[in-house]
């Protein structure tokens, strides 16, 4: 075969929506050589997925290719009919989706699903197809594939599901694979394994791959060439190293800066952002001797009604103004711990002292009436569901003031709310909006404003930026950092992004299945992990480095 495998020329995609047409992709051109892995990065909503769907003709009914051409193996497939599409799909190009569990039919065994895909393109008997499927499962390195053939997706872990998904996608040996954020939602450790597998298979079978991701580090690690998208346009195309070290386009520059790396500092995340008075993290004034610990958690444990042990034997201390990180893989008990400390759920055992007062014994049911309620506040993981859909931003921020400080509606309240909004950088005119009218970053700010409205002394942050874009994350992190310094807030910062924790926290606690495996001063801990588990976590974090995986073999 000669010439590029795929050529996209000035592709435009328009969606007809309630408010008229929306042009999601506005003139994208790219080309892909056989066997190449191309990274497609950009922020949420920049049109990455739509580009992928347009190429594979999987757009919603509402979407239409309005202009441009797609050539595949030299053939124009822009307006391919449904018959052509059927042979194209799967056999020639395939797609892997973000949430593997949802992408698999929940009531069909994975073996059958792989076989379905095979049978769609090959005239063989079902039992032959099943044999073939078994081979594929083996190829994607599923342990014990014979048994897994008759498993349902819910019986598999996320990583396994993604492997099955890959098996489905490669079942007919397509020459083009489009992987749309294949590892978002997976653990850092799983993410690495899955990506390695994908790269390996693509290389082995000579499949060209487009890797769609918003994680620059990931793209850098696996791709030779990366294109950057912004608002439906390609803004830059380069080799990863070039891109990271010498970004040309301002957008790319912002993106690169915002991506936390093993060495970045919070101050660096937003190059042209608002200037923040720099205070050295390590130079916190040592607490005067004799002041009680702000938080003293003594061997708390949480046993759920169904018997699962969420957290066991967890102890920690915090001083005022200190920032402690809590990391661990999914399900390790981070949220459970933070909710117990926040007194939203009751610990089954142990004691919690706040500012010297025992609060562990006050039932969570009654804690809302406690004096200390306003001193411990929480910021939630997903900004989308952390705001009451029926409250405006103003109402959200005013809520704790009304309840906890007994303020009355009126000028004083308005001023206080506006002040909070100002502090988190939320434009005042957004205060009258409802959550669905706010962007993710704006919602996160409202959530933070609400949490700091009562001037708490301890702020628990449960993955406050996990659902945000890197650039938004950068701004939010910076904001949090500033607030902390200004108010001498103590942070309990929960996250699974080690780079973020390293930047934000003085100390870090590593949790695994509800038990502390390691803790210590953040930089030291990450530079020199003591346990295997922590080392794995650290290693799995994608770094911007030469693409090792695809180094010419």
């Amino acid at each position: 075969m000669s010439g590029p495998l795929l050529e996209v020329d000035d592709l435009r995609v328009t969606f007809s929506t309630r408010r008229g047409p929306v042009e999601a992709v506005r003139g994208v051109s790219l080309s892909l050589e056989p066997g190449e892995m191309l990274g497609l990065v950009g922020e949420s909503g920049s049109g990455k997925s739509v580009t992928g769907f347009a190429i594979t003709h999987l757009l919603d009914n509402a979407g239409r290719i309005t202009d441009g051409r797609i050539r595949f193996k030299g053939q124009d497939i822009t307006r391919a009919g449904s018959a052509d599409l059927r042979s194209l799909h799967g056999a020639a190009m395939a797609m892997i989706f973000q949430n593997p569990r949802a992408a698999l039919n929940p009531i069909r065994t994975v073996g059958q699903q792989v076989a379905d895909a095979i049978l769609a393109h090959r005239r063989i008997s079902r039992s032959e197809a099943l044999d073939e499927a078994l081979k594929l499962l083996r190829a994607v390195q599923i342990r014990d594939p014979e048994r897994r053939m008759s498993a349902y997706p819910h019986e598999l872990s996320g990583g396994m599901c993604q492997r099955v998904m890959i098996a489905v996608a490669i079942s007919c040996n397509p020459s083009l694979l489009i992987a749309d954020e294949p590892t978002t939602g997976l653990d850092v450790t799983t993410q690495k394994v899955v990506m390695d597998l994908l790269a390996h298979i693509a290389a082995e079978r000579g499949m060209a791959t487009i890797l769609i991701t918003h994680d620059l580090g990931l793209a850098a690690r696996y791709c030779r060439r990366v294109v950057v998208m912004e608002q439906g346009r390609l803004v830059e195309e380069a080799e990863p190293l070039t891109l990271f070290h010498r970004p040309q386009h301002p957008y790319t520059k912002r993106l690169v800066a915002a991506s936390p790396t093993a060495t970045s500092r919070i101050e660096d995340l937003v190059p042209d952002g608002e200037p923040i008075p720099l205070v050295e993290v390590t130079e916190l004034p040592p607490p005067p001797h004799g002041t009680p610990l702000l938080l003293d958690v003594k061997t708390i444990a949480k046993r759920f009604d169904d018997g699962t042990l969420g957290v066991a034997d967890f102890s920690m201390t915090m001083r005022g103004g200190e920032s402690v990180g809590l990391v661990g893989e999914s399900g390790s008990g981070k949220s459970t711990t933070s909710r117990m400390i926040c007194r939203l759920i009751d610990p089954s055992e142990g004691e919690i002292l706040f500012d010297g007062q025992a609060i562990g014994q006050i039932p969570a049911r009654d804690f809302h009436a406690s004096e200390l309620r306003k001193d411990i506040q929480i910021v939630f993981q997903d900004p989308n569901d952390s705001l009451n859909p029926r409250y405006t931003a103003f109402d959200c921020i005013a809520h704790p003031l009304l309840r906890l400080l007994n303020m009355r509606a009126g000028d004083a309240l308005r001023r206080r709310v506006e002040e909070c909004a100002d502090r988190v950088g939320l434009p005042r005119e957004l205060l009258q909006r409802f959550p669905h009218q706010l962007s993710g970053g704006q919602k996160a700010r409202v959530g933070i404003a609400r949490a700091i409205a009562c001037r708490p002394r301890l702020l628990v942050l449960d993955e406050p930026t996990a659902a945000l874009d890197v650039s938004v994350q950068a701004v939010v992190l910076q904001l949090l950092n500033r607030l902390r310094r200004e108010d001498n807030l103590a942070f309990l910062f929960v996250s699974h992004d080690l780079n973020v924790v390293r930047m934000m926290c003085d100390r870090t606690i590593v949790l695994r299945t509800g038990v502390i495996v390691e803790q210590g001063e953040s930089r030291a801990l990450f530079a020199n992990p003591q346990t295997e588990y922590t080392r794995e976590l650290v290693d799995a974090v994608p770094h911007i480095a030469p693409p090792v995986a695809l180094a010419p073999a």
Binding site: K374, N388, P389, P400, R403
Partner: protein, 286 residues
Amino acid sequence: MSTIETSSTLRHTAFVLRGNPVTAVAAGGALLLALIAIFAPWLAPYDPVVSDVPQALLPPSAAHWAGTDQLGRDVLSRLIVASRLDLTIAVTAVAVSFALGSVIGALCGYSGGRLDKAVGRFVDVLMAFPLFVLAMAMVAALGNRVENIVIATAIINLPFYIRFARAEVNIRRNLGWVEAARACGESHVAVVLRFLLPNVLPAMAVQMSLNLGWAILNAAGLSFIGLGVKPPTPEWGIMVAEGARFISTGRWWLVAFPGLALMSAVLCFNLLGDGLRDILDPRMRT
């Protein structure tokens, strides 16, 4: 709420209606029904209860657009006046079961545990009853007054609302904003009543509008077996039930017109219910 909210609600509603002509028609129909019910006494061309036996069982004519019944009463007038009672029965019955059911269901869904189990048992008992028989028995026991028909209809609807509210609250109870409300110092009860409940109402409102039609039919069924509203009060269900007796003698207007009235009311409510889903869903707004 603020004026911004109201005007945007209006705009949004108008938008949904424009995009969905069926809902628009249904909404128009429901509005018309409500108007007819309100102005019934002035709209009815004849007194609905005054008999004129020599004029009995006349087919539709210029004087009596929908014919006359067994006692020579004008069917159209009776239909118009009946709308009031029927809508009242439907609306109050549904409102009562909705009010009770949503609060009980929400509390159960939020608290879980023993309360949830106990109420769940109670709901099971109610659900296991053949509902129509339950309604009949209750009306028979309490007497067939309008209030009792309303109560019976409300009670047989109750389990559905409890379950619905319970399920809706249950999936929301661990959401961030619910915990946030608690972190803002709200007690559990306040969280349920002031935060969760308003948020599940839209989904339930849909259910409600579907039930409105059903409540009318239920009253009609009760009338058919003789446990409906007292005569000579006009009521669609009774009129249909009485008219049904005359099908075999070809007096079609006695069943056709009340049937049509019943049908259009139920249809309006049902279609409106589908549309309401779109209007009330805050996520569909911009």
